[in-house]
């Protein structure tokens, strides 16, 4: 028998979505027993903390929710879930105000003392609230302190392995959790479970999220049979650092640099964005700029490190140092100098627009299961705007907390997990510990990263996507025969293996979904289908796990509930 913990509300993850859910649920009903499970130290994991640029929100009289809504849909190429996009822009305003007035965040101010909002790509109004160029530290430090203040329990360095069902498979009962320090497994059961572990496409050669991210939430949800959407939509951020061989490779130079007027050059000294998007130039959305950079490098106009150059020096060293101190420092550590010279950058895998299908209250179709933040899909459509990510996590974390407190008013019973399921999962996850031969996880992970970079990358093609789907199955078979050291105390190699299984389950979804979308839209670019095709109608690709582990897919039309695209491309003119 495994040790068992029972709580009212279980939160997997401790980024902004998870923390805001816990805080809001607690404030709605301080009597709730809430447990946060995080695989990092408290408040240190995840991508919210790594947010640089800021938080898009309507605060100015001259701005409006309608404008923010339309910007979000345009960025997402109109395949967003419009109810969720509406919730995002409307609730962002209250959310950011609460973060200032209740949690003590302090964002940068204008000289008159009101909150400053800066320019970000793809936006019709300067609406990005920020704290210098390291906004995430302010947000997560302050909310983590509020978690302390409320005495909400945190199990740190504990990692959820899978969601658990009851015997009838009619509801989620909690999660199987591993203590990273000892390797012990335990069952946490809850009346309501929130998955908010965050995404982070770390299964690419270059990626922006920290290497600790491993798509745990998305993989767990997939394995639990939850319906997922838009899994082909993987955002590449145009300006990732290139430091060959270092784990820092792919880390971002923030979007605000382009917003402030930095230029991008190819190796021929051309500002190529003038060619790709003469109107918005470097301030075009991330998908457009990343694709342009990629095509320049593929055309032989890249720099030796395989990237292009970003140049902010013409803005003045003093300006760059003052406004982007974190970025300047980051480049100088590696012998570059953003304030005074161009720095080589590459598109880097950054964010997943896709995820679990939820409604505006973060409910899934599975009883007692809620999902918020990057683990959920729909709100960003085919491409997320810079500054809408942390807004998403905070807004839907807050929605989750309120909705879960309401749910727990009605249903505060804790169902029992299926003991057979628990037993089976324990055996499955412990298997590599006792194996004495087989491949090593790190080698397999490197292969997966290359596979994704080349075949499910910035620009894709039908035949290579089909190959990717098959190669993923082969890799999965190898991974299931891999070996790890048997000492379970802080066994990082075992952790790597667990991460790899999750990355592979994710790639099953992304490669299949990407093969099905035969057009170029937002972050999804097809070499064999270079045009955006609105003629056949706007649709999302939904999927769930089949018996053999591969996804079963379904296309469904987008509900253009509040707004339709202004001019449909490739529309027959009849």
């Amino acid at each position: 028998m495994l040790p068992k913990i029972k709580v009212d509300m279980l939160t997997l993850g401790m980024g902004a979505a998870a923390q805001l859910a816990a805080l809001n649920a607690h404030d709605a009903n301080p009597d709730l027993d809430i447990l946060i499970v995080t695989k990092a130290l408290r408040g240190k994991g995840g991508c919210s903390r790594m947010v640089q640029g800021g938080f898009n929100v309507v605060l100015d009289q001259k701005d409006s929710h309608q404008k923010h809504f339309m910007d979000t849909l345009k960025g997402g190429q109109f395949i967003n879930n419009q109810d969720m996009a509406k919730t995002l822009v409307e609730q962002a305003t209250n959310t950011i105000k609460e973060m200032e007035t209740k949690y003590g965040c302090f964002f940068d101010r204008k000289p008159d003392g009101t909150v400053h909002q800066k320019a970000f790509a793809g936006q019709s109004f300067d609406r990005t609230v920020h704290k210098g160029d390291l906004t995430g530290i302010e947000i997560i430090s302050r909310t983590t302190e509020q978690i302390m203040k409320r005495g909400i329990r945190v199990l740190e360095e504990h990692r959820a392995l899978d969601l658990l069902y009851d015997r009838e498979r009619s509801q989620i009962t909690g999660a199987l959790v591993m203590n990273i320090r000892t390797g012990e497994l335990m069952v946490v059961e809850a009346a309501a479970t929130l998955v908010a572990t965050g995404g982070g496409p770390t299964c690419y050669r270059l990626c922006a999220p920290g290497p600790e991210k491993s798509l745990d939430g998305l993989a767990m949800l997939y394995r639990a049979g939850v319906e997922m959407m838009d899994m082909e939509m993987i955002q590449f951020h145009p300006t990732g650092l290139i430091v060959p061989g270092s784990v820092v490779a792919g880390a971002l130079l923030e979007e605000g640099l382009r917003g402030a007027g930095a230029y991008l050059y190819n190796s021929e000294g051309e500002r190529y964005m003038l060619r790709y998007d003469p109107e918005k130039k470097e301030r075009a959305t991330r998908d457009v700029v990343s694709r342009a950079s990629y095509l320049e490098v593929m055309a032989g106009r890249g720099f030796p490190g395989g990237g292009v150059q970003i140049d902010a020096a013409h803005l003045g060293a003093e300006f760059v140092e003052k406004n982007f101190p974190g970025m300047t420092e980051r480049t100088r550590l590696f012998g570059f100098d953003l304030a005074n010279e161009p720095v080589e950058v590459s598109p880097t895998a950054h964010f997943l627009m896709g995820g679990a299908v939820i409604n505006s209250d973060t409910e899934t179709k599975v009883h007692r299961l809620f999902v918020a933040g990057e683990d959920a899909g729909g709100v960003h459509g085919a491409n997320r705007l810079g500054g809408n990510g942390i807004a998403d996590s905070c807004v839907f974390g807050r929605q989750a907390g309120k909705a879960m407190a309401r749910f727990l008013e009605r249903e505060r019973t804790i169902a029992e997990s299926d003991p057979q399921m628990v037993e089976h999962l324990c055996a499955h996850y412990r298997a590599p510990l006792s194996r004495t031969s087989g491949p090593v996880p790190a080698d397999l992970r490197d292969r997966l990263r290359e596979l994704n970079w080349v075949k499910v990358g910035i620009v894709r093609q039908g035949d290579s996507l089909a190959e990717a789907s098959e190669e993923v199955e082969e890799l999965m078979a190898e991974v299931l025969g891999a070996q790890v050291p048997s000492n379970t105390n802080y066994n990082m190699i075992w952790g790597e293996w667990l991460s790899l299984v999750n990355m592979l389950d994710f790639t099953r979804m992304s490669s299949k979904s990407a093969a099905l979308r035969e057009e170029t839209r937002g972050a999804h670019a097809r070499h064999d289908f270079p045009e955006q095709n609105d003629a056949t109608g706007l649709y999302n690709i939904f999927l769930r796990r089949g018996q053999d582990g591969r996804p079963i897919t379904e296309k469904r039309p987008v509900d253009l509930k509040y707004a339709a695209p202004p001019s449909k491309k490739n529309q027959p003119t009849a």
Binding site: K44, D108, P111, K131, I137, F334, N489, M492
Partner: protein, 419 residues
């Protein structure tokens, strides 16, 4: 930059496996590094783990100095593994050990609970002074923001607390990270727990000895020392009458928190603490000066002579692994002679029939260290320095191992060459 891109480097890495227990040891790894400036210590650890020893444990998350997970002691100085490139560390051998003062979980990972405990005790959480609907209007050029904005980037990595010689010697000392956060809230006009916070900070902030270690090591370039001085100044201006103000407030301003599951300070607790704190401030300050005067640094190299510690057989029969023998002798020191009565620590290896005699003077500031038989460590009571049985520094501020005496046995007596 020079033309030298890379080469071979040796890394001495602290190892401890909870399954095996013991004191831990250092393992040596040699790596060929292509480019010293493109390689962080975190990269080094990943490579050692992948290429040489899969069992190596270390902690990381963001790898860009934003999460504070990879704090460790790098060549004797606290820092983030992800923010130290090999090129900046100019030694042939680079030593990596876990943060000081914290229980080691495995190898370079420590249990940060004592850090979070102190941080939580500093009441790091904002409490709104009034219910506002809109973000407060605060001009960025105000004194308030100038004081705060330099100090809010703290990522709770624990480097400052590890470097502080006071934080763990004084149980209730909130330490640099906690007091830094205190300062940012004390200066914040939006915060509603000002007096309570000030009382807690005042009780604690005089434990700072202005060694500036925290300021020197902070990877985010924050100066907790400056924050502590800010609190000192605030205490002078606002301290008088603070106790009255606190006790005369009938309604608690803090949220009536439910029974805390993790330790969080209740208002009642910090009220009782503040009452003690206000009275104790002066005493603590004076106590501090007394401690400082205990330093006995030798400024002049006196003539050396052999001093007897008595029959070796008797010493070997002492209980425990270390015998503390008082050496009595007369020392010629300049113009006068003085009588010494000084403990010598004799480490006994009965199996190999060998002994090592240590000077009991702490290599930090000269206090007397003692042997703790239970922990199997030499401990210094002044600033919490600890040493392994072989005299090597385990934790705390001492810059080098305990000094070993030259020994000889003459007529069955153990002699040490005194300095």
């Amino acid at each position: 930059m020079t033309d030298v891109k890379g080469g071979q480097k040796t890394f001495k890495v602290f190892r401890y496996d909870p399954a095996k227990g013991g004191q831990g040891h250092f393992d040596t790894f040699v790596l060929d590094i292509e480019d010293y400036y493109a390689t962080t210590i975190l990269d080094v650890l990943f490579r050692i783990q992948r290429e040489q020893d899969q069992s190596l444990a270390f902690r990381y998350a963001c790898r860009v100095a934003m999460c504070g997970s990879c704090g460790m002691v790098i060549n004797g100085k606290e820092g983030l593994a992800c923010k130290n490139v090999v090129g900046d560390l100019r030694t042939d051998v680079i030593t990596l050990r876990p943060l000081n003062h914290f229980p080691v979980v495995k190898d370079l990972t420590v249990d940060m609970e004592p850090f979070f405990k102190k941080y939580e005790d500093s009441m790091p959480y904002f409490e709104p002074a009034q219910e506002l609907q809109e973000p407060a209007v605060v001009r960025p050029d105000t004194w308030e923001r100038k004081a705060i904005d330099m100090a809010t980037d703290c990522i709770a990595c624990g480097c400052c607390v590890s470097s502080c010689t006071m934080a763990f010697w004084h149980k209730d000392y909130l330490g640099p990270a906690g007091l830094n956060r205190s300062m940012t809230l004390l200066a914040d006009s939006r915060d509603g727990l000002h007096d309570e916070r000030l009382a807690a900070a005042m009780e604690s902030c005089y434990n700072c000895r202005l060694e500036f270690n925290c300021t020197e090591v902070c990877p985010k370039n924050i100066s907790p020392t400056r924050a502590i001085k800010y609190i000192h100044r605030m205490a002078v201006r606002q301290g008088p009458g603070l106790a009255d103000r606190l006790t005369s407030t009938p309604e608690p301003k803090a949220l009536p928190a439910p029974e805390p599951l993790t330790p969080a300070m209740s208002r009642r607790r910090f009220l009782s603490r503040s009452a003690i704190g206000l009275g104790a401030v002066a005493g603590v300050a004076i106590g501090g000066m007394v401690t400082v005067s205990a330093i006995s640094a030798a400024f002049k190299e006196p003539e050396r002579k052999w001093v007897s510690l008595g029959p070796l057989e008797k010493i070997m029969d002492s209980p425990g692994e270390v015998a503390t023998i008082y050496a009595n002798y007369q020392l010629a020191d300049g113009f006068y002679k003085r009588d010494e009565h000084k403990p010598v620590l004799v480490s006994l290896n009965r199996e190999k029939n060998r002994i090592i005699a240590f000077n009991s003077r702490c290599t930090h500031l000269g206090c007397t260290v003692h042997w703790d038989e239970k922990k199997k460590l030499f401990m210094c009571a002044c600033h919490g320095g600890t040493f392994f049985p072989d005299g090597v520094v385990k934790s705390g501020p001492p810059p080098r191992p305990l000094e070993r005496y030259k020994t000889q046995v003459k007529n069955g007596n153990l002699l040490v060459l005194e300095a």
